[in-house]
């Protein structure tokens, strides 16, 4: 399984000279499974670049949405394969008692917010609510579970052979909870992340920023580190950077994360901050998730 980060920013695209290295595009992760089939995790503005990079047009693509906040779907109408009639796109996402996934996404892909409607997309697009039970896409087993965020929100776990990816980009597991003291089964998202080869997890706020954002649905650096330690993931990538955080500020947070990870007994190289275009090749659980570039 190969993983590439196409958008690492949270909340709103943040292009500019101060965000060049970590990137300004919002959430999107490309996953190439062992049989070559392709998944996109979320469809923030990063999915535009993912679409342009798909040289050989895949016949079928799966897009797994964690939730429908704009920073996770904004790139959908700029995803080139969606405008090719030979492409089949399956969009998975959380169910809601309020309306179907298609109808909720159509609120964005419709006038006046969008120049095209869902029914006008040339591709063969379908929408599916994620089942409660594990399901398969190609060689991978996919699991989705609700996680603590605002509104119906999922985290995903993808197992392909012996390697596993956990993707929980918007997550506040410490809301009203002590992550260091709680039993494992009472921690939101931990069942998805447990022993993953690679955990991509929310790390939006510095610790001193979190008190002003309690209940906003995101993690502080301390909470993300605690969660990663409890999950025992082989490698953790902190994701969904705050739009106010420049490259320089993120460098500081990366240093802080590494220091605190080491103090907490974490393995060297076990934690880092997500950078746009970073790639990971996930081997079996017994070895490290070595960066491909």
């Amino acid at each position: 399984m190969k993983v590439k980060l196409w958008g690492t920013r949270g909340s709103i695209p943040s292009p500019g000279p101060e965000t060049i290295r970590y990137g300004g595009n919002t959430s999107c992760v490309g996953v190439t499974l062992s049989d070559g089939s392709m998944l996109a995790l979320d469809a923030g503005t990063g999915i535009r670049s993912l679409g342009l990079a798909l040289a050989a047009e895949p016949a079928r693509l799966h897009i797994l949405l964690t939730h429908l906040h704009l920073d996770h779907i904004q790139g959908l109408v700029f995803f080139a394969p969606a405008f090719r009639p030979q492409t089949e796109i399956v969009i998975w996402g959380p169910a809601s008692p309020e309306a179907s996934l298609r109808d909720r996404i159509a609120r964005y892909i419709s006038a006046p917010l969008s120049p095209v409607e869902v029914r006008e997309l040339p591709c063969d697009v379908s929408f599916r609510h994620c089942p409660e039970a594990e399901w398969e896409i190609g060689p991978a087993r996919i699991r989705a579970a609700s996680v603590a965020h605002r509104g119906p929100t999922l985290g995903y776990r993808i197992d392909d052979g012996d390697s596993s990816l956990a993707y929980i980009p918007d997550h506040e597991p410490a809301l009203g909870a002590d992550l260091d003291a709680l039993e494992e089964d009472w921690i939101s998202g931990l069942g998805l992340a447990r022993d993953a080869s690679l955990l991509i997890h929310d790390g939006q706020y510095a610790d001193n920023e979190y008190p002003d954002h309690i209940g906003w649905g995101h993690s502080s650096l301390s909470h993300a580190i605690s969660f990663a330690r409890r999950a025992n993931a082989e490698r953790t990538v902190l994701f969904h950077h705050d739009p106010m955080h420049s490259d320089e500020r993120l460098d500081q947070l990366a240093d802080e994360a590494r220091e605190r990870w080491a103090v907490a007994g974490g393995r060297e190289g076990g934690i880092e901050l997500a950078a746009e275009r970073a790639e990971y090749e996930l081997p079996a659980r017994t070895a490290s998730a070595a960066p491909a570039s």
Binding site: A95, E132, A148, P152, G176, A177, D185, G189, L190, D195
Partner: protein, 136 residues
């Protein structure tokens, strides 16, 4: 692999932990999976000391008793009605704390319904305002 509790139960526990209102939480099978500190004070034992209690045990652990001091059938307890029938339920009755002291309380229970069906139920307790006996 860790079997995560349903998120709705996790959030319910987190909320209950922050409340000063005594509250119980049962899962979809009726197992008592948490009660908060306020409930622990009422019962005379913290949840951390007791741990989770099976569906067929917790009803008898604390009573409850009707106005005549008779045990109330398990099936009639508000939490059981809420989790089994997916309906809110209310009753007043006496419970017995660990030290044997009796407390007359009112209990309101409501189910935790999700997109995947019922995941459990919550009951909150107050000192009884009247003594009308058990009922729904």
């Amino acid at each position: 692999m860790t079997q995560q509790k349903p998120l709705e139960l996790i959030l319910a526990r987190n909320l209950m932990s922050a409340l000063s209102t005594p509250a119980f939480l049962v899962d979809e099978g009726g197992v008592l999976v948490f009660y908060n500190e306020a409930a622990g004070m009422l019962l005379g034992k913290r949840f951390e000391e007791l741990g989770k209690v099976g569906a067929d045990e917790w009803g008898s652990l604390f009573g409850p008793f009707d106005e005549n001091g008779e045990p109330i059938p398990y099936d009639d307890l508000p939490l059981v009605v809420a989790v089994r029938n997916g309906r809110p339920a209310h009753a007043d009755f006496e419970i017995s704390s660990i030290d044997g002291a009796r407390h007359r309380i009112e209990a309101s229970a409501f189910p935790i319904l999700t997109a995947h069906g019922s995941q459990g139920a919550i009951a909150v307790f107050w000192p009884a305002a009247s003594s009308n006996g058990a009922g729904h």
